[in-house]
Assembly symmetry: C2
Homo-oligomer: 307 residues x 2
């Protein structure tokens, strides 16, 4: 929630600079931000640099909307691991009388959502989730790669502009053999750190774990960390504390292969790996490192981004 | 709903062509589509042509995520007019025990959504909705213009690929005096028909009404039609029946001005108008008119789109 009027949080001065310059536009709720023209140009430049970075991968380019079917969401396992980040879509399916009740509740300032029913869709939580159920037939030997760019939702209202509820993820996904998955992950950790260096960001890679929910989640996180499955590239994206993950490279082992029935050429359950770049976070890291005036950024950074 | 296995609907052959060629990717639910590389390139070309078409308007470019705050949604009046198209976002906010119950329901194939609570956000229903509450202070004399491009949600599952549940809308919005709003609407009807002619689409403009809900909605629609507030540009986007709106230009009168407290320079409630282009629908209209091979489209159409 917003800090009460008169109070401030550590991000307040940074938010004032970002909104005062028109880079971000407040939308009245923590973690929801409109993007001004200059911010959007940075986002577009970063997305374009990422596309170039993966151009040699012969990855198939595919784009998905920000909602997926309920069954895709259920199969992804997200509800088990991150229930509090979920966004399930509900709608109205009643008649005139039900509608009158809904409007009455709305006018009375009461909760009108009891009039709703599940709409069959859930907000996409990771850009690669909608990809897996579209993969048909066994993977080719050596696996296959995809270039996916989409808007994802995470219910985690925060006053930190780097922690948006709705943001764009640029992903390169591999599905195939276990060794191919590990190589894909390692390749992209290296590329992500090379890119951040080129962009003048004070970033480094680190083995990490996901914020799995609850008691069981603490064990899942420990196991993930122990196995070194997740590597994050961290950088300052504002006044802290600490650093923010601007990219995350993950070996999923056979999680999605099992969930979506994906098979390698020789019939084994496929492994997968992905790297996901948080495009708005990279834009914020650039603004924090180099200042709010893109024109005044170091020439090498500007030319690296075509800005 | 999908036609039962073995049955077909009128769009079945068209869907097979679109998916067989990789232009669209089925996502397992009516109205949800992934976009292949070639489809996305058409979408990007259309969006770019629209941006060029509005370049002389000095419109402020701003982008919003596909979710808005619940209060923005409530104030927009959408729930009164189009409750069945709504997408309210719900999430999990319980503890370990509640989570265990949710996972039990999930495993048992039961509805797990009773474990959820409203998340404070609603899917954006029109690209211009998030704009209005960000407008602060009185409008300048003569009004102001915005260029908005976003992903919107409409809960209307359909086997017609032109009726997507999640799609992109390119909008030019005017807020200011009543005459300025009417001129904006008329200008954009003219520009939209000029554009469709240039793109080789068999399109025409027509006074229309919105699909307002219920008994009261029929009167609203009749009034809207009578007052000539809404003009749609219609074109074939597939095997029919009838035509599909690929653009819609609307005078809102003082609806949003009243709802969001917008004032003109002289203190009157502001009027507004917008034109919204359905970018995926224009892509489908182009594919239907000129064939699935972009390279074989008429040279004038290709050059008009920079393809």
């Amino acid at each position: 929630m917003e800090a009460p009027a008169g109070e401030t949080d550590q991000w307040a001065p940074w938010r004032r600079r970002l909104t005062g310059s028109g880079l971000l536009v407040p939308m009245g709720l923590d973690g929801l931000w409109g993007r001004g023209d200059r911010f959007e140009r940075i986002v577009e430049a970063v997305a374009s640099a990422l596309a170039d970075l993966g151009a040699d991968q012969h990855a198939e380019r595919v784009r998905f909307p920000p909602v997926v079917s309920r069954s895709t969401f259920e199969n992804s396992g997200y509800l088990r691991s991150f229930p509090t980040l979920t966004g399930s879509v509900h709608t109205f399916a009643g008649d005139d009388r039900d509608h009158a009740r809904l409007l009455h509740d709305l006018a009375a300032g009461e909760d009108w959502t009891p009039s709703l029913v599940p709409a069959g869709t859930v907000l996409c939580a990771a850009a690669c989730h909608p990809l897996y159920p579209t993969i048909t037939g066994p993977l080719p030997a050596g696996g296959a790669r995809w270039d996916v760019y989409g808007t994802v939702f995470r219910h985690e209202p925060s006053p930190d502009p780097a922690r948006m509820q709705s943001f764009r993820q640029y992903e390169f996904v591999y599905v195939g053999e276990p060794e191919g998955a590990t190589r894909h992950r390692d390749l992209w950790v290296e590329r992500a750190t090379t890119l951040t260096a080129r962009l003048g960001l004070d970033a480094h890679a680190e083995v990490a774990s996901d914020p799995f929910f609850g008691r069981a989640g603490r064990m899942l996180a420990a196991n993930q960390q122990e196995a070194g499955l997740k590597v994050e590239v961290l950088a300052p994206t504002g006044p802290g504390p600490g650093l923010t993950a601007i990219a995350s490279a993950n070996c999923h082992e056979d999680h999605f292969g099992e969930a979506f029935g994906l098979r390698t050429a020789d019939g084994a359950v496929a492994h997968s790996a992905c790297v996901g770049f948080g495009v708005e976070r990279i834009a914020l890291a650039l603004l924090w490192a180099h200042g709010l005036e893109t024109d005044a950024w170091p020439p090498a950074v500007r030319s690296g981004l075509g800005l």
